[in-house]
Amino acid sequence: MDLSYTPEETQFRDEVRAFLDEALPQRLSDKVRDGSTLSKAEVEEWQAILSARGWLATHWPREYGGTGWNVVERFIFDVESSRANAPSIIPFGLSMLAPVLIKFGSDAQKERWLPRMLDGEDWWCQGYSEPGAGSDLANVRTTAVRDGDHYVVNGQKTWTTMAQHANMIFCLVRTDSSGKPQEGISFLLVDMTSPGVEVRPIITLDGDHEVNEVFFKDVRVPVENLVGEEGLGWTYAKYLLTYERTTMAGIGASRAALERLREIAQAEQSDGKPLIEDLLFAMRVARADIALKNLETTTMRVVAATAQGGSTGAQSSILKIKGTELRQEISALTRRAVGAYAQPFLPEREGANEAPVGPDYAVAATPTYLNLRKLSIYGGSNEIQKNIMTKAILGL
């Protein structure tokens, strides 16, 4: 056994670190560290920097303008980026749609859509979830009816992340209702500027506008925007779900959050000394730290197995469950650390620059905690993950 990277991997990691050191604007990493919401322009700014370096499409083969990285390199890049508080790459186009297009899309689709992702011309969002469906993704009721060279789409999607910024959405739509729920689903690319598309914000309990409802009323979509074959949309969607998911553990983000927590607990005074010297609090931090170190190695074990061609099926459930629990725990500790100043709420208004109430680091503590409640709900809730594990690992 050997936990260390190969010399090549170490060199790659150093290269990533050097790049982040130089190219990542402090202005952006401060906002990420403090849990502030990034504007559309800020996200695009970072993605343009990555694209210029050729590091935006980490999952793609080189022939399409991707990095061609193997699983270990992707892992290293993800972890280092998160630890450096780099903004997340918006995954919907680059990491979710692109692999489907590359595998199932037509040449014309690849030529049209992939370069626009690299150039930042399109902002994609994902139209899977529907009202009332929850974790039952096959419960698709949005319909697409063929009418000449178009599909006419009617229905509603929900929990659509950052749809307010998007000009394109890829959707699961029902083109046939006669068979089982998983049959008759198609995979369609929809221009959100088309007549009949309406986006309505959903404000989440942290006061943020991150997700939306998207309504389709007689929206006409050219048939060339159908990916693959009609009725096989579920297959394509599932391909994504079984796709490499070691990033689900979120260990880079948790490590960054834990380091920030230590700084906060050093700054906060309790009983006349830094909070971090309070044994009860130190115990909570230590337990999270140990769990995170364990999870870092668990993740690397899965990465190593994947690199050797192993499947990540049930293992990814373990990473998802433990990774989300841990990030939630760290956010709860951060809320606890800031004491009474966990209470004030400062709405973030584009352009406004209100001075914080209490210490800078306290502002986002509660909203971040509240926002991260989503981690155990979305991406297949942690309960669903345990159901999956029951079948896959336990044979029950």
Binding site: A133, W159, I202, T204, L205, P344, G358, K374, I377
Partner: protein
């Protein structure tokens, strides 16, 4: 042993519950917190009229209640209705005024005035003795300088009850008119939808009589407030539990109510078990309120610790079992959940009180 409410308690509870059900709601609460006054003037007057404020004080000082179980009954009901009005500040300020024999209490009880306590400071965390605000005695008056943190409903108040340190080092409690020169406020809404403010006191001059007594007055007020928000949490948790149960019964997924999932059933059972324990903790605290100081402190810390852990668990589980919809501001659930979570940040969190319990147990 008798664990039932008295007739007076029961009738107030019934009236108050009905009021908040029929004439109050989250929309009103949210609108009030957004406004500068931070509360709903009409609702406040109605609460006073229903006797809610008077129930917090004994007849000797002009109220018609005032024992610990009265406070428990009122606040549990307020919690169940998610009432955002300044009843908690009134309890704290009123407890100080009552102990100091101030006749300002009358105007509090009848709803004409609002008074709030402002004990904690930007770096005091949950420690009442860590007071940097100073009170300088001058020939005719006191001059007060300092800052107070997260003062609920400060902007609505006529009177601030503040702690300040005298030149000799002792901490005393003063009544400061909110309109006094040198008092400035920066108001905001809290994460749980209540109005609060940072209060600055710069060269504020108050008469000699403004000094109400020593820091013990503040401590007693915080004890009462601690009991009150523990009881409030019971009401919040009951609402959250019932809403979640209803959701488990009615939400269909994969063709069945999600409540058919045995794991969710057992987690609801765990919630019920812990909620009964939490109720017992609050009863223990209420029963100890008039007893010896050490037993009272122990019981209050036990209650606040129990409430802190249980309310957090119930809020998190309620959101989780609701799934995505539980994450939305639109659903009432998120508002109850956030209040239940923020209670752990008032008067000391569960760690603070567990530590205090350990210290007191060892003594």
């Amino acid at each position: 042993m008798d664990f039932t409410l008295s007739e007076d308690q029961q009738s107030l509870v019934d009236v108050l519950a009905r009021f908040s059900r029929e004439r109050y709601g989250i929309a009103k609460r949210t609108a009030a917190a957004g406004a500068e006054s931070g509360h709903d003037v009409a609702t406040w007057a109605q609460l006073a009229e229903l006797g809610v404020i008077g129930m917090l004080f004994s007849s000797e000082v002009g109220g018609y209640g005032g024992n610990a179980f009265d406070i428990m009954a009122v606040f549990e009901t307020l919690g169940h209705g998610l009432v955002g009005e300044p009843v908690l500040p009134a309890l704290l300020a009123g407890t100080v005024l009552a102990a100091a024999g101030s006749d300002a209490l009358d105007r509090l009880i009848d709803g004409s005035d609002i008074a709030v306590s402002a004990f904690y400071e930007p770096t005091s965390r949950y420690d009442l003795d860590r007071v940097a605000t100073t009170a300088t005695e001058q020939s005719q008056d006191w001059k007060i300088d300092g800052a107070k943190a997260v003062v609920h409903h400060a902007e609505a108040a006529q009177t601030l009850i503040v702690t300040a340190r005298e030149a000799n080092g002792t901490v005393s409690v003063f009544a400061v008119p909110a309109a006094a020169s040198g008092v400035t406020m920066r108001g905001y809404v809290t994460n749980d939808g209540i109005r609060a403010a940072e209060v600055k006191l710069e060269g504020v001059i108050v008469p000699k009589a403004a000094k109400l007594g020593g820091v013990a007055l503040a401590r007693d007020a915080v004890d009462a407030g601690t009991l009150a928000i523990c009881a409030e949490a019971l009401g919040l948790m009951t609402w959250l539990k019932d809403a979640t149960l209803e959701y488990l019964r009615t939400r269909i997924q994969f063709g069945k109510p999600i409540g058919n999932n045995q794991v969710l059933q057992h987690r609801m059972a765990d919630i019920v078990v812990e909620m009964e324990q939490a109720r017992s903790a609050v009863i223990n605290a209420a029963a100890a309120m008039d007893g010896p100081a050490d037993a009272r402190a122990l019981a209050l810390s036990a209650a606040k610790y129990t409430i802190g852990t249980t309310a957090t668990m119930v809020a998190e589980e309620a959101i989780q079992m609701h799934g995505g919809i539980g994450m939305t501001e639109e659903l009432g659930l998120s508002h109850f959940a956030k209040r239940a979570l923020m209670i752990d940040h008032q008067f000391g969190d569960s760690d603070h009180h567990l530590r205090r319990y350990i210290t007191l147990s060892a003594a």
